[in-house]
Symmetry: none
Subunit: 219 residues, 2 copies
DNA sequence: TCTAAGTTTAAGGTTAATTTAAGCATTAAA
DNA sequence: TTTAATGCTTAAATTAACCTTAAACTTAGA
């Protein structure tokens, strides 16, 4: 894992570099705001250890920069200043953690492990067929990137179709998905909703198979 | 945001509960390992503040249990023991942070904000959507640069919306975020708060999606 | 304690979503 | 090419969701 260490005190830096490498990180080191910024251009940096109080500027600026351009890059702040205000400020600006010098390297390593654990996690509940994309958690749908507003039943119907991409579903099956048991549907609701959906998407997006049902997607 | 406080000292617990609630958390409290475990069955707990050293067992067991069953649930440990070994152990077991007693409440709040950011994906303590800006740490909101005064519940509601910019949230979801369990909301509180918020911001800032919920921001 | 601000409740009005129903269009088989 | 079956379209009727208001209640601060 690639780590950027920003620290101006050469003695401290040297020691840290060595022990971080022993911990298995690939360490890049910079001692000025300027060079730190350059390193940050590099997308391969996955973790930053940042000393505030550098010779040519304030480390806080680096933090701001990171949080503006690479929100998900974890940053652990390292500093001599230990007042609570400083801590609160660093954390509120988006730092993931904060250690006051002097600190025990073991504690830094532990905190880095926590931070790097976080790097890998993402889960999306999104369905996509052609240009139509749905986020079932956020209740949003878009067509060619443009958001489309769907009422509840239309949303549910489209969801049922997208979840069964390429599979034909009868009106009866779809009805069962949209309505509670025992809720009698005495009419052609599904047809009507399909009609409304079709107005919002390309002509042939929802295909009809006469006497069988409806499909979406490849076939 | 739902928080579980595990703390056996009743005096401390009471004070913390109150101030955490003022910080906008819905706080559930338990003072034993057993009841903590029960609370943790509940999926909606999003954040845990854990005192080690409980009467009927070790808090570390709770931590282990959490990390086994709900890896992503952030835990902030709170304890009288302050040695580095303890810290390292707590962190390596998956705690996200560690505070030694006595601590300044402001620092706990700052660290909790960091932990909850992780849950909500937001990166800093300031949330911004359009002309509306919120500083969750300072508890302030502004519209077009002008400060807007919001009562606590309205603030929490707006926060829940801003944290989920572009994501539609149902009334039920919002209710769950603003209220503690056992506190049944027998009425249309959310609707009323939304109404009040709308008076303070532009007409279409909070959008309604009938039958689905409310959103703020892009769509 | 008292007061003012915040919060919840409840009722009635408003509007959008959903269902219904009827007539029109298309398909496939005789 | 006719016919019967199935699906499409439209608009009106119905229903459910939401908004608004005001009053009752609660809480926090002086």
């Amino acid at each position: 894992m690639h780590l950027l260490l920003v620290e101006d005190d050469h003695l401290v830096a040297e020691g840290l570099c060595r022990s971080l490498r022993q911990q298995g990180y690939s360490v890049e080191h910079s001692s000025t705001v300027k060079s730190a910024m350059q390193w940050l251009q590099n997308d391969e940096i996955e973790l930053v250890v940042l000393d505030l109080g550098l010779p040519d500027g304030d480390g806080i600026d680096i933090l701001k920069h990171i949080k503006k351009h690479r929100k998900n890059l974890p940053v652990v702040i390292l500093t001599a200043r230990g007042s609570i205000d400083d801590k609160v400020m660093g954390l509120d600006l988006g730092a993931d953690d904060y250690l006051a010098k002097p600190f025990d390297p073991a504690e830094l390593f532990a905190r880095l492990r926590v931070a790097s654990r976080r790097v890998t996690q993402a889960q999306t509940s999104t369905l996509k067929v052609g240009d139509v994309e749905m986020d079932t958690a956020a209740f949003t749908v878009s067509f060619q990137g443009e958001p489309v507003n769907l009422p509840r039943k239309e949303f549910m119907l489209l969801k049922a179709l997208l979840e069964n991409q390429g599979r034909v579903q009868s009106k009866q099956q779809l009805e069962n998905k949209l309505y509670e048991w025992g809720e009698e549907v005495g009419s052609n609701t599904i047809e009507v909703h399909i009609h409304h959906l079709r107005k919002k998407f390309p002509k042939e997006f929802i295909k009809t198979l006469r006497g069988i049902g409806y499909v979406v997607g490849k076939r």
